[in-house]
């Protein structure tokens, strides 16, 4: 996706987010700068606690009450979202311009309200329209997200829907006002594999139809490989590597990205130990010195414990925060088995050939 220079729709600069937990201050986001391009699929990946959800929630002003944007800016549509103080200011953005699909469709729908009403609610909140008009639009939306018999389904309650269908309803609510940016927080984690693939297809179709920009928050690298144009790898409240999908999968540079890819069971050899990351993520209550991943990185350099690495550019679209890319570093090779990612594909290719023969 680097054939043309894309317009920047959302610009984040030096964002710092802090939380107050029982009197202690935790720094959840430690100075992130990032551009979101119009029409792209950006995947934000990382372990739980890496701050990926918090980061995206700041775009909609959905931080918990004990959290706040400490410094930095989020430019969107000529406004600085980070400077918003009142709920009233958010109304024109949240749900209308930037919408969110939540992880668990079992808990994000109101069980006491017919799904049609729940979708309609999102629509009428932002548009002054009559009931008939709103219903018409809701039925359109239901059809859009691939729910058969919208007329009948409109009156049904969430418990009458399967998990996959419920997630479609959640997507319909998010799509009610045709937002510019759609944030999907683990949209498929709670679903079966077969349904998962269908939901991803649906999101892609909606993107083509409405020209959406989608941010996927996920820890499933399989999903990422399927949908992402660009990938941002987060660790301890910071983006440690960002690049196009191919660059991050086939030519990753940050030791944390290596570790994340290495621990995939798909790359494991039966009977051998799977690679696993040692240690635990750093305590964000304390200030972090140097590279946050250094204590868990068996091949960390001395400088990693002293100074925080800057971004080094690998290509115009690919940069990573690691001293390994410094010309003075000894240059550590990525682990052998990551190269097997290519082999997964090759294996598959053979399968495909076999299939051709058998058919």
């Amino acid at each position: 996706m680097c054939e043309m220079k894309k317009d920047v729709i959302l610009r984040v600069r030096d964002l710092v987010v802090k939380f107050n937990l029982r009197g202690q201050v935790l720094t959840a986001i430690r100075g992130i700068s990032m551009d979101l391009h119009k029409g792209e699929n950006l995947a934000v990946v990382g372990e739980s606690g890496s701050g990926k959800s918090v980061f995206c929630k700041t775009f909609m002003g959905l931080l918990d009450n004990n959290g706040w944007v400490d410094s930095g800016s989020i430019e969107y549509g000529g406004q600085d979202l980070a400077a918003f103080q009142k709920e009233r200011e958010w109304i024109h953005i949240r749900g209308k311009k930037i919408a969110m699909v939540f992880q668990d469709p079992m808990t994000s729908l109101n069980p006491l309200k017919p799904v049609g009403k729940q979708i309609q609610e999102a629509f009428t909140l932002h548009n002054k329209v009559g009931a008939a008009e709103a219903k018409k639009r809701t039925l359109e939306l239901l059809a859009d997200v691939g729910i058969p018999e919208p007329e009948r389904r409109y009156k049904q309650y969430p418990h009458e829907f399967s998990g996959g269908m419920r997630q479609r309803v959640v997507i319909a609510i998010a799509m009610a006002c045709v937002p510019e940016i759609l944030i999907c927080d683990e949209p498929t984690t709670a679903l079966d594999v077969t349904i998962q693939a269908q939901i991803l297809e649906l999101l892609k179709a909606l993107q083509r139809k409405y020209g959406l920009t989608i941010i996927y928050i996920t820890h499933d690298l399989g999903v990422v490989a399927n949908v992402a144009d660009r990938i941002a790898v987060m660790y301890a409240g910071d983006i440690v590597e960002i690049g196009t999908c191919d660059e991050v999968f086939y030519d990753s540079r940050h030791p944390y990205t290596w570790a994340l890819l290495s621990s995939l069971p798909q790359l494991g050899v039966k009977g051998e130990e799977l690679y696993s990351i040692q240690g635990t993520p750093p305590n964000l209550f304390h200030e972090i010195h140097g590279d946050a991943f250094a204590p868990r990185n068996p091949r960390a350099l001395k400088v990693d414990f002293v100074a925080r690495p800057p971004y080094f550019e690998v290509s115009p679209t690919h940069k990573a925060r690691t001293w390994l890319l410094d010309p003075r570093s000894p240059g550590v090779e990525p682990p052998e088995h990551i190269k097997n990612i290519r082999n997964i594909r090759n294996l598959k290719k053979e399968d495909a050939v076999n299939e051709q023969i058998t058919r």
Partner: protein, 313 residues
């Protein structure tokens, strides 16, 4: 895969599990039969609602069966059994649950959670001996002995799952039913728990029934896999054979949907969608058939013919 199959440890015969009362009956598991050999990891895969968890729970006797029987080491353990046998089964068959956030008693200390089973099965043990065993079990799963005096909420998901594993290990089981043991965990923690499970298997010669919906993980850990759809096993085979020659359309749909961490193959992925109405079972009933050695599939005569052609090609 040339592991010789050897001795049968658990044998499930015609298992049927029904929920609800007579008027509102729902048959979750419809006449399922399979054998699990000693020392192997047997995988059970299917989507939610397919009955895979119910099978696991019926074997360990949490859910009563309405039909069929379970044979463990040559003895029937389903239905009414003697007190002695009941005690033996309780000790030798253990379960690891899916969600480590929900399966630990929040109000009990780790010490009690881990040793609870022992209190019931080995009342002869002194307190001292019991706490020694807890220490040993915790160390074995990579936790520190001092964790025994803490509460579950003080631990992360991966650590909690280790506590869940410790509490089944302390019983010195031979057969462990692992119900989606890693699906609630983070990617990086998954690898650790999988490694732990396979290390324990090697050291103690454990047999696992591994229940999951994620085929990519199962390929790594299972020796044989059974695919279950709506309470019926549709295909059963050695892992690699299943991945090389998936025959039943449902298995093929599942395999085609596996997310691969490789952008190129993801882009070329063709989804197969399983439509249960594609079978013509009205006149020609499907039969459970061994189509090649160790590879079973459910199909009627016409389908089996097609499957054979596909295998030979």
């Amino acid at each position: 895969m040339s592991k010789s199959l050897g001795e049968i440890l658990v044998s499930v015969r015609n298992m049927e599990v029904t929920f609800g009362s007579r008027r509102n009956r729902f048959v979750a598991v419809k006449g399922v039969s399979f054998d699990i050999y000693k020392g192997e990891t047997f995988g059970l895969v299917g989507e939610s609602g397919s009955g895979k968890t119910t099978i696991g729970r019926a074997i360990i006797r949490i859910n009563p069966m309405s039909h069929g029987e379970v044979i463990y080491k040559g003895q029937r353990i389903s239905g009414k059994i003697s007190k002695e046998l009941d005690k033996k089964v309780t000790q030798q068959i253990q379960m690891i649950f899916q969600d480590p956030m929900a399966s630990l008693n929040e109000r009990a200390k780790v010490d009690y959670i881990v040793s609870e089973g022992l209190i019931n099965v080995r009342p002869d043990l002194k307190k001292q001996e019991r706490s020694e065993m807890v220490t040993k079990a915790l160390l074995e799963v990579g936790l520190l002995p001092e964790f025994a005096s803490r509460f579950p909420h003080e631990f992360s998901g991966g650590q909690r799952q280790r506590i869940g594993i410790a509490r089944s290990l302390i019983m010195e089981p031979e057969f462990i039913i692992a119900d989606e043991p890693i699906s609630a965990l983070d990617v990086s923690i998954r690898a650790q728990v999988l490694n732990l499970l396979s290390r324990l298997q090697k050291e103690r010669g454990l047999t696992y029934l591994f229940i999951a919906h994620d085929l990519s993980v199962m390929r790594f850990i299972c020796d044989r896999i059974a695919v279950i759809h709506k309470g019926v096993i549709v295909e059963l085979s050695e892992t690699e054979k299943l991945f090389e020659h998936p025959l039943h359309p449902y298995t093929r749909a599942l395999l085609s949907a596996i997310p691969l961490p490789d952008p190129d193959s993801e882009k070329r992925k063709i989804l197969e969608i399983y439509d249960p109405t594609q079978h013509h079972y009205e006149t020609d009933k499907p039969i459970w058939t061994e189509i090649e050695s160790g590879h079973f599939v459910m199909g009627n005569r016409e389908e089996l013919e097609q499957y054979r052609v596909r295998l030979e090609a």
